[in-house]
């Protein structure tokens, strides 16, 4: 088991049990320190200035880009576009590639388990272009059968969008297979890696996708920084997203030509300190070892899942095997509304998420209004899990129900 708790200032000497890392992870001191060093020693607007601080800021920013490129297995650093978060990355694809390329009669295929951020941009792109939005359904346990995937892709499919790991099930989705099917009809494949990037090594070459996006804050990085990866040729052929400063080559009164990729997609002053913080978070995860993180998370998930399965009136959604949860345990408790579950756990200082998890179509598909979700990450320990289980086991009686 890992013992990293002390690396996280917010967790030192607190009795709060943080089990909401699928929403946002805590930040280790080295990430906070990396941002501080940037701010204290070479803060200046990158990419523009012709003096030392600005050049240092540019170097730090571009160094972070290389680190992110290596992290996802990109061939070139230029294939990484810094964004605010996953949502912005997906909107970038929708506003640029999708709106420039989709036509009436084309189909965009999304899965029913997507987070709203991997659904709403496609709803908009279809509305604007006249393309049709189609859904790939999952089983109750969150699986996509091969026949269903094959049937969902048609010769009209132009774009397929799938989360790598669902924020409700935590199961790794068959992105590689889906990308093959998408390519067999000439469609492109978008992979939302928001929930997978913190847990499993990413390799865009092996996944065979065309776009991949993730957020920094879910892998111990700062909020407000994320990344989009796409192949260079694809990025070069796409129109820009936001227009303004630092994304141009020449500007006249009437028109402009664009800067080279990736700066074409990074209009305005960038979040350089955030990028540096993200780089530090990636180094931190790599030093801990994603394999070791996975083993740690799976062991704690197993402890929690086995106990929850043995408790009456508790129902965990998805696989009955801990290693198929990526630390995410979404559950319901008979007769107790998820908001009441979260409030009672909060009174025991246990932080979990409750609600629709930004996945309302999935909740409808499952026939539940909302659910509760505990999510485990590398800084959690057995005491956290046991405090959660203790609180959970007394929950129904505290709401007035007998056994």
């Amino acid at each position: 088991m890992l013992d990293l708790r002390n690396d996280f200032p917010i967790l030192r000497g607190t009795d709060v049990v943080y089990l909401d890392s699928a929403a946002t992870a805590q930040r280790p001191a080295c990430v906070i320190e990396a941002e501080r060093v940037f701010n204290d020693t070479h803060n200046a607007n990158p990419l523009r200035g012709l003096y030392a601080w600005s050049m240092e800021a540019t170097d730090a920013y571009e160094h972070a880009r290389q680190t992110v490129a290596d992290f996802v297995g990109a061939k070139h650093a230029e294939e990484i576009v810094f964004t605010r978060n996953t949502t912005e990355g997906l909107n970038l694809i929708a506003y640029t590639w999708a709106m420039a390329n989709l036509k009436p009669g084309d189909e965009v295929l999304v899965t029913v388990m997507e987070h709203h951020s991997n659904l709403l941009p496609w709803q908009l792109a279809c509305e604007r272009t006249g393309a049709t939005l189609r859904f790939l359904e999952c089983t109750r346990d969150g699986l996509f059968p091969e026949e269903a995937m094959r049937a969902a892709v048609t010769e009209r499919t132009r774009l397929v969008c799938m989360g790598h790991v669902s924020n409700v099930y935590g199961r790794v989705n068959p992105v590689e297979r889906m990308a093959e099917l998408a390519h067999s009809v000439g469609a492109l494949m978008v992979c939302d890696a928001a929930q997978s990037a913190p847990h499993i090594p990413l390799d865009v070459q092996k996944l065979g996708v065309d776009f991949l996006v993730f957020s920094g804050h879910k892998l111990c990085g700062p909020m407000g920084i994320g990344a989009l990866w796409a192949r260079l040729e694809l990025l070069e052929a796409m129109p820009p997203f936001l227009r303004g400063g630092e994304m141009i080559e020449y500007v006249t009164r009437e028109r402009a030509t664009w800067a080279e990729v990736p700066h074409k997609f990074e209009a305005g002053t960038v979040n350089a300190a955030g990028a540096v913080g993200l780089e530090a978070a990636i180094h931190y995860l790599q030093a801990a070892g994603l394999d070791a993180v996975e083993a740690h998370v799976n062991a704690l998930t197993d402890r929690a899942l086995k106990a929850m399965q043995a408790m009456p009136h508790i129902h965990v959604i998805g696989s009955d095997r801990a290693e198929e949860h990526s630390g995410i345990l979404t559950f319901t408790v008979d007769d107790v509304h998820p908001h009441d579950i979260a409030a009672i756990l909060d009174s025991d200082k246990v932080c979990i998420r409750a609600g629709h998890h930004c996945a309302q179509p999935l909740m409808k598909h499952l026939g539940v209004g909302s659910t509760a979700r505990a999510s485990i990450y590398l800084y959690n320990n057995t005491e956290d899990v046991d405090r959660f289980l203790d609180s959970l086991s007394s929950l129904r009686s505290r709401m007035g129900y007998g056994e």
Partner: protein, 146 residues
């Protein structure tokens, strides 16, 4: 342990064994109240004759706070003239917002058991759902007429 106090016995009893959670076939005013962010969803059903609420009930789903609050409300307003019911709604909503006087909270009787929710901003909407729906019914009765 501060919010153990708002899952008190009054609240859990009304949530588990509500007196007014059932259909009301002869209701003449019915309105849906929804909290989209949490999924609380109720239909408030009233039978109003000559400006007096002669009967009332609710159906729907939601958290314990929303359900108990609606149930307590109905226990208080059935039998009251519309204006007195709306006065209670006003007191209740101000109690939850933390601006009601002690006398007003006294008036709220059993509903006063929910006063601690004013310390939980995320749950305010749950607590006022039934009361807010009551205000909406009388604001535009034409919309709620069955």
């Amino acid at each position: 342990m501060e919010n153990r106090s708002f899952y008190n016995e009054v609240l859990t009893e009304h949530n588990m064994r509500p007196d007014f959670k059932h259909d009301l076939p002869d209701a003449n005013l019915v309105l849906e109240g929804v909290n989209p962010s949490c999924g609380d969803d109720i239909y408030l059903k009233l039978k109003v004759e000559d400006g007096t609420i002669v009967d009332g009930a609710f159906v729907g789903d939601g958290c314990a706070i929303s359900q108990a609050s609606a149930d307590i409300m109905l226990g208080m307003i059935v039998g009251l003239p519309k204006d007195e019911a709306l006065h209670l709604a006003d007191c209740f909503i101000r109690m939850i917002k933390g601006t009601a006087t002690e006398e007003e909270i006294e008036e709220l009787d059993e509903a006063g058991a929910l006063r601690d929710i004013s310390h939980m901003p995320a749950r305010v909407k749950c607590a006022v759902l039934g009361w807010h729906t009551l205000e909406e019914i009388f604001k535009d009765p034409a919309k709620a007429r069955v």
